[in-house]
Symmetry: C2
Subunit: 481 residues, 2 copies
């Protein structure tokens, strides 16, 4: 009798595969209050690596971290009309505190443009104070009716950047830089997830923005996930919060502001962008454990000793390695578990290997063939002596291969189409690309009736368009999370 698979196969039920994986790999679960989540240590360690990589890139653009309060006076949100209209249905409101009813209810921040705007207005006096480049790592709350862990939760973790500039050109240049040099670079080069960068249509824009730039990735079920956004807020917030400066001639001018963010949603993207029927597949750069040395069996301790030496050699070679010497647990069960957890490289050592001076090296990224069957080529025997030194190069190769494979899969599932009917057909299994002049807002509305949306508008050759009115601008459309 064939063993039941650990996870529901992706082709059978992708959402259930996702839920199975969250549970079985001990990544996260639902919190007790509707829509909240508990992030377990294995997933949180991945999030910590994401934070550290994104944070370094943000700081490289000159932004500094700060912290603004969780609670925002309800009245602040009402100052920018579109902003409050966009967020009102999702707000959580504190009405009682310290045993009393509050005079003014406090909103739990859904995002912090308003409160940060209030302080920017205080801190900015002259053109010498510009640009003001701030970022914060925090939790935010947006009440969700259909929550799904990591993808759509009532509370999530994120960073939100907020900047003020002297000119419109400088502000939009900075918003672009964040999208490309911070977000796209991180997603492509660390997460090994290719992203389409583009501009949102008016229908999909952030509430209160003039322009929203976005990174859109394709999940393995062909649906889109918005992985990060960067907004040009024009003078919408500076007008209502009076964020202004005196220019070199002494005249008072309104600032141009931006805001931008990525969140724990990227965890969902990582899982659904790379995971397969065996479990997670982690790109080495975000894997907490990059290589696990597994003792297959041991009768006299000699295999464990050799495995421990190998683990030490891996650590010395700069690899985040771990030893699995739990020989009381059947080897097969442990191998399945490391596959489930997506550890990029496994080094398996048994008595026979030791005798022959070799170790079996298994690559997680190649474990399954494209038809879903086991790929024998994912395992190879290496001489034990020198095996550790080969691993750093192997991890680099895995990182590159995962990006190539994800890019090829995405491009194969992205189809050029000529009309709405074709687009609806193509988005059953991937993205459709259609000239924006041909689709237009009318076509966008038609797609929306089938829950297909314009993910972003791109320049003819891809990437951010100079203007969405340019000849040759294309719309990428898809079903989305």
């Amino acid at each position: 009798m064939a063993k039941a698979p650990v996870l529901t196969p992706q082709a059978e039920d992708f959402p259930r595969w996702y839920q199975d994986l969250l549970n079985k790999a001990e990544l996260a679960e639902n919190g007790p209050v509707r829509g909240t989540m508990v992030i377990r240590p294995y997933a949180y360690a991945i999030w910590e690596r994401m934070v550290s990589e994104v944070d370094a890139r943000i700081k490289a653009t000159g932004a500094e971290n700060a912290y603004f309060p969780l609670f925002i006076p309800e009245s602040y949100l009402h100052r920018e009309a579109e902003h409050v209209e966009g967020f009102s249905p999702e707000l959580a409101v504190v009405t009682h505190a310290g045993g009393k009813e509050l005079e003014e209810p406090a909103v739990v921040r859904p995002t912090s443009e308003t409160v940060i705007g209030e302080y920017m207005a205080k801190w900015i006096q002259s053109y010498r104070d510009l640009p003001l480049l701030l970022n914060q790592w925090s939790n935010v709350v947006r009440w969700e009716l259909r929550p799904r862990v990591f993808l759509r939760t009532s509370e999530f973790l994120w960073q939100e950047g907020h900047t003020a500039h002297a000119t419109e050109a400088e502000a939009s240049e900075y918003a672009r830089r964040i999208l490309e040099d911070v977000y796209e670079d991180f997603m492509v080069n660390v997460l090994a997830i290719p992203v389409f960068t583009g501009v949102k249509t008016a229908a999909e824009r952030f509430a209160g923005a003039d322009d929203t730039l976005a990174c859109e990735a394709m999940m393995r079920d062909g649906k889109a996930l918005q992985m990060g956004t960067s907004h040009s807020l024009g003078q919408n917030f500076s007008r209502v919060f009076d964020i202004s400066y005196s220019d070199p001639e002494g005249a008072q001018q309104l600032c141009w502001t931006t805001s931008w963010g990525v969140s724990t949603r990227m965890m969902g993207g990582l899982i659904m962008g790379h995971g397969d029927d065996l479990g997670l597949r982690l790109p080495p750069k975000v894997a907490e454990v990059q290589a696990v040395v597994t003792v297959v069996r041991d009768s006299d301790g000699s295999v464990t000793d050799a495995a421990r030496r190998l683990e030490q050699e891996l650590c010395d070679a700069g690899v985040r390695a771990r030893l699995d010497d739990r020989v009381d647990t059947p080897f097969g069960r442990r191998a399945t578990d490391w596959e489930l957890k997506g550890v990029p490289v496994r080094l398996e050592l048994g008595p026979r290997d030791l005798e022959e001076g070799q170790v079996t090296v298994a690559r997680r990224d190649l474990a399954l063939d494209s038809d879903g069957s086991r790929n024998p080529a994912s395992k190879a025997a290496l001489p034990l002596d020198g095996a550790a030194r080969a691993v750093p190069g192997l991890l680099e190769e895995i990182q590159a291969t995962m990006l190539e494979a994800a890019t090829a899969a995405r491009d194969a599932a992205t189809v050029d189409v000529d009309g709405v009917a074709e687009a609806l057909e193509a988005t059953r299994s991937g993205f459709a690309r259609i000239p924006w002049k041909r689709l237009g807002t009318e076509g966008e509305r038609e797609l929306a009736e089938s829950a297909v949306t314009v993910r972003c508008l791109q320049a003819e050759g891809g990437g951010l368009p100079a203007s969405i009115d340019d000849e040759g601008v294309v719309a990428l459309v898809a079903r989305s999370y």
Copy 2:
């Protein structure tokens, strides 16, 4: 006419000195909702260094980071009687979300014992799952009637560790380890703040704990600040949340749990523990800028060039250095500002210095004599060539000197006394030490009438007592923040 000081002198009005410094050094300010705070970039960078140092020490004890929700069902808090009694007056409650009234109000976490207890109960089955060592970095909310930035705010940032163990001995050993190897080690060796470690009396214990261990520091006004606590929770939470395991014999046993935390309150401790009438004094290990190279004046760019080279040499020597070449701003004003911001070392370079091949090196820690006058010995001329290489050693010396000075000041203001009247007198300017058998809970109540409290109980020779009933246990009493 003498210049007005930048800050209110400490001796004149310590709380106002503190408030002045928060504003003028651009550290933090009040948020718009009562009791909340905005942490500005200069202070937040210090907090990030604190987080990174504490986090590394926590991970070295084997604990892993995770994340639990901001919102806790109100009913969870009611399960542990003392816990809810302790926290009820401080709770912020969300009654409405997503445009509707919630069926069960959600409490904004004041601490997470209850929600983490609920999940520990799910995750722990057998003795093999123990110990379970978790930590999280998060915000928490405790409504404050008399808020003061960093010291007592309605929202603050902290880490909270939560662990479950098989035996009482293991749990209390771990709680001790956190207090001594993580908190005390960090405070002494990174913050350069000496702390008294001890046990809280029943009156001062955490709501729901069997035992609370604490680190208590003396601020420069002689008052105590509780800098960190570690609690043995006994089986109080495991009983009500059913955190249990099957032991090797298959019998079901209740776990023993601990919790422990340090918060942004430590920022207040850093400011009030080291700051003087000129401003902050930062120990080099937490200073975001350890050395600033200041161009005094420059007519032809040559001084700025030399200063830039010096800054580069400092960076190459592993020093976090910054260049101040804002020659448009008067040198005196800039020097005052770097003093205010507590940068440990300033290297001042003018045209004359450059001519003579030297640089003036100023130590922030020694800027003022004990009588409050300027200390000329805090500045010295060094040959420009090789100056950068001398700075790492100088930073180490400053770190050590600051700890020594703080320890000497604290010990000089800690007086052995024999009764309540003497204790009240001594605590007008520092701490009093009194045998616990002599003071007792009766004496503790008398002191409380004058707002003097037992900060902790120590063993005869200092440090954590094996038992508070031991002969020779002493009470450290003080006024406190």
